[in-house]
Symmetry: C2
Subunit: 156 residues, 2 copies
Amino acid sequence: MDDDRLLLLKAVEIATEGIRNGGGPFGAVVAREGKIIAEAYNQVTLKNDPTAHAEIQAIRQAASFLKSYDLRECTLYSSCEPCPMCLGAIYWAGITKVVYASDRNDAASAGFSDNIIYSEIMLDPSDRKISFIRMAEKEGSKVFKRWNEFEEKTPY
Amino acid sequence: MDDDRLLLLKAVEIATEGIRNGGGPFGAVVAREGKIIAEAYNQVTLKNDPTAHAEIQAIRQAASFLKSYDLRECTLYSSCEPCPMCLGAIYWAGITKVVYASDRNDAASAGFSDNIIYSEIMLDPSDRKISFIRMAEKEGSKVFKRWNEFEEKTPY
């Protein structure tokens, strides 16, 4: 059995452990050079944290372990296709490889509405179910002007 | 000046504070009934946490304060249009109103690549720049079967 499959099965096992422990049915593992450096299951309801998806938790742990927000040498293994939130986190972390088992349609059959978020995200903000209101553009743009001019910044 | 504008200007002020304190140029506020219950600036580089966007931090704080992962009574004020990761978090938190100042194009001019993630997210996983590999579908589906049959679960 190759390493990818083995590490993915570990993520699936963690998802099952999550159910047993009162969490959500999703598990994730972050590995570097084939070694696990972080693992987590969904803890949204356990932690009262809507962002505590398995992937987000595993990414945060891996970054903390490596003392870096840049995880480009890591692979994420997830029991299910990452939702748009987690996908965004994967891009920001610079992860370049994701291995997963179930997909967004399987998640829907278990009551998780990734599909709605995928549809909404493609719409113009003003067309979404959530009310998006834009104002104070001038004040907002001053922030980026200051950022562009700030010489001691840590760009990323 | 109406409340929305005032609370948005607070988020903008926090973004500026973020720059001063070595964080990223983004600020967010979560309010309920016009009262601020959480505020944060981007701390990705400060915390070595790729998920520590202003909005994610503010949502986590608000949920912790309310002891609930359900923020449907809250409004999010953000100095900039939320990126796809934060947008996902907003949907999962059930927030129904977002007020923002700058947009994804302004963010691009300051070096933040929200636009790339928006384009990638719309593609089929197999067409993305990140390598997405699916396997172990059978093992993955067992997790959701177990979840669907688990009587003591906390659905959300």
